[in-house]
């Protein structure tokens, strides 16, 4: 079938741009390691405490080394459970020093939830039966908002928590 000369050029430029973009995405994902959150570990949603990360004492922020942290969270309608602080109060705000690399690790005990820290690239789905993880680096001090961005029932829009990134 005959293609017009201009059409060939148009498709070459358009197709070429798509190809370059795809290669960038592929290199980003598989060479530089920025894959989308795709943790393959399964877990029993009725008994998440059986997994070390989701034992009561391990919820919330755990320091790995100088500036690396893990934050463990259990989502359920309509709450993010980050455990309790030293005085036994429920944690609603997580305080993180600026410059930290943080891995959020979560699961759900009931329905599907979203886990998005607005203003950052930390965004993932939490599904019952699976653990999921996402990493981000906090370069700017400020207050960030966790929102559940996946419909989980009538109280879905009340599901929230806060991150405070502070200058030392």
């Amino acid at each position: 079938m005959h293609l017009h000369k201009y059409e060939k050029m148009w498709m070459l430029i358009g197709g070429g741009a798509l190809l370059i973009f795809l290669i960038m995405l592929g290199v980003g994902a598989f060479y530089q390691g920025t894959k989308p959150p795709s943790c393959l570990t399964t877990i029993d949603p009725q008994n998440v405490e059986a997994h070390d990360s989701f034992k009561k004492e391990n919820l919330g922020m755990q320091q790995l080394d100088d500036n690396r942290y893990v934050v463990n969270v259990i989502a359920s309608a309509f709450n993010y459970d980050f455990g309790t602080d030293e005085e036994g109060n429920v944690v609603r705000t997580i305080r993180i020093p600026v410059g930290s690399e943080v891995m959020f690790q979560g699961t759900s005990t009931d329905v599907v939830h979203g886990f998005e820290l607005a203003g950052t690239n930390a965004n993932m789905m939490l599904e019952p039966g699976y653990i999921n993880t996402v990493e981000t680096t906090f370069n700017k001090p400020g207050t960030y908002t966790f929102v559940c961005n996946e419909y989980c029932g009538t109280g879905h829009h009340y599901m929230t928590a806060t991150v405070e990134v502070y200058d030392e």
Binding site: E7, G15, L18, T42, V112, P128, G129, V147, Y151, T154
Partner: protein, 550 residues
């Protein structure tokens, strides 16, 4: 000119579909308006109606009911016009219509009773009333009957016209219905095998990731099922309206075949942030998703080539002079053209959504809602409106008069302005992190959230303007149905340019193209799907109370 018209019986069939579509537009549009108002925080729904209930109505009635009825009604008219419809086929077409309608009413009743606030993407393990799932099954079964009526129509024509290439529009309808049939097998499987037994209590648990994967296997081809009828009008009807010819019959068919191949094995790009799916297979489907941009690039070229050729044929020979020669005052052209222009940013936004890493920024934010209000609710819907300005008069034996034309042009402008504000503020708020599918909330009361609420006012302003657009459209629909002057309106079907190259007959080789499509689907889904099943976690029981279904 009488030979140009559809028979009375054929007209009645398509018109029945139009009625359901336009009533859905009014109801669904009203729900959309209410949603934008609730999200300003200044308005509360009366009678204890829940936000997520009207959100479910809005999604189901516009994305499933309006689109499906309009598309199937429009496609029946195209098939009757190009290859004809026998009395027996028409009986089956009516059966399809009633099955779909009964299913729609059953599902709608459950939503209105508050027993099915699960949005149209189902959200297992949130559990709706079983009748909701049965109703949706009937809708799908009805569309399958319509599929086979269309297949039979073309088959019969091919038998009577051996060796000839099929009429372009009939070819396109059949491609669209093949995509629909192959993709709905996924949603039918999850509803019949998973949701219905589970919601009835016959089985205790549901495999969530399997249900989501089967849904999105259907959920993305669904958007091409909406888009392709718009492309049918662009390729096969608009050239006639602007006084030109189809630029290339072969390229038009090639674009549709590429849609058949690439629109289905791409569902993972809706699941990029989900656990349990290997990132390698996500990336494979991202590549296939990008491939589906190719036929849209082809279409953009063909459209503007048609416009330019038509303009130059009329003597407008300067570089952009032909652009002025287009019939901007003819609503049959103007409305779809505005839709086409909206598709440029809409398509670009789609590539953002589908890419592995950028998706982290926008996934489940209201950016995505802004995106499909450009694609579906502007490009597709304005083209559908553009079709109805001549189709409804054809079906009712009336004329597209000056008044209809003026109303249509005003409607299009109102729509474009409303969507600019609504979709625009959705896109911006989404980039700032505002979530989709969420009622008004101040969350933790931070400054960040306050910023989103400003854009929610923008959405309410846009939504209100759009609702005015819906009222104008409803008035125009009633006017065209009952009051426009009687007469014979043209059913515009474009012809191929005389100097166009012959279309390769390989495009008519259905076994080949369906075969390749199936191979691509098998390639993209078999291994990850087996992985998902083999590595399944314990299943989930029903959660009814969370959506108020108890």
């Amino acid at each position: 000119m009488i030979a140009n018209q559809l028979t009375k019986k054929d007209s009645k069939l398509s018109m029945a579909h139009m009625w359901v579509a336009f009533i859905s537009l009014l109801i669904g549009g009203l729900m959309g308006l209410l949603q934008t108002l609730v999200r300003t925080g200044r308005f509360t729904l009366p009678f204890g109606i829940d936000y997520y209930q009207i959100l479910t109505v809005h999604g189901v009635i516009l994305a499933l009911v309006l689109t499906t009825f309009f598309i199937i009604g429009f496609q029946f008219s195209l098939m009757s016009k190009t290859v004809g419809m026998s009395d027996r086929e028409r009986v089956w077409a009516w059966i399809a219509f009633w099955v779909m309608l009964v299913g729609t009413i059953a599902a709608a009743t459950m939503i209105l009773l508050g027993k099915a606030s699960v949005l149209y993407t189902f959200y297992a393990p949130l559990a709706a009333h079983p009748i909701f799932y049965f109703g949706l099954t009937l809708v799908i079964v009805g569309t399958w009957i319509a599929c086979f009526v269309n297949f039979h129509q073309l088959y019969k024509w091919k038998k009577a016209n051996k060796g000839e290439k099929s009429p372009l529009l009939a070819f396109m309808v059949v491609i669209n219905m093949i995509i629909w049939f192959i993709s709905t097998i996924g949603v039918a499987a999850t509803v019949l095998i998973q949701f219905i037994p589970w919601s009835l209590g016959i089985v205790d648990e549901i495999n969530i990731l399997v249900s989501r994967t089967l849904f999105w296997y259907f959920g993305h081809p669904l958007v091409y099922f909406w888009l392709l009828p718009a492309y049918m009008a662009w390729y096969g009807i608009i050239p006639k309206i602007i006084g030109g010819k189809i630029f290339s019959d072969g390229l038009a068919r090639l674009a549709f075949i590429l849609f058949l191949l690439f629109s289905i094995p791409v569902g993972f790009h809706h699941q990029l942030l989900e656990p349990g799916i290997d990132p390698f297979w996500k990336y494979i489907q991202v590549v296939l998703t990008f491939a589906v941009a190719i036929p849209s690039l082809l279409t953009a070229f063909s459209m503007f080539a048609t416009f330019e050729t038509a303009g130059r044929a009329k003597g407008f020979n300067t570089l952009f002079g032909w652009f002025k020669a287009l019939p901007w005052k003819d609503v049959r052209f103007f409305a779809p053209m505005v839709g086409m222009i909206a598709f440029i940013p809409a398509g670009a936004g789609g590539l953002v959504n589908a890419s592995n890493q950028l998706n982290l920024v926008v996934h489940n934010t209201i950016w995505v809602t802004g995106h499909f209000h450009l694609t579906l609710a502007t490009t597709v819907i304005l083209t559908f409106f553009g079709i109805s300005y001549w189709l409804v008069p054809v079906l009712t034996g009336r004329k597209l008069d000056e008044k209809t034309n003026r109303l249509g042009i005003i409607q299009t402008i109102v729509w474009a302005i409303g969507m600019f504000f609504m979709s625009g503020s959705m896109h911006i708020a989404g980039l700032l992190g505002a979530p989709r599918r969420s009622a008004f909330s101040e969350y933790n009361g931070s400054e960040q959230v306050t910023e989103w609420i400003g854009y929610q006012y923008g959405q309410a302003i846009g939504g209100s303007i759009l609702f005015i657009g819906i009222i104008i459209m409803m008035y125009t629909f009633l006017y065209m149905t009952f009051f426009a002057p009687k007469g014979v309106e043209e059913f515009p079907i474009a012809e191929t340019a005389e100097d166009a190259e012959p279309t390769p007959m390989i495009f008519e080789n259905w076994r080949l193209w369906i075969g390749i499509a199936v191979v691509l689907i098998a390639f993209a889904y078999t291994i990850p799907f087996i992985d998902i099943i083999q590595n399944s976690p314990p299943g989930s029981p029903t959660f009814k109370g969370l959506i108020g279904n108890s």
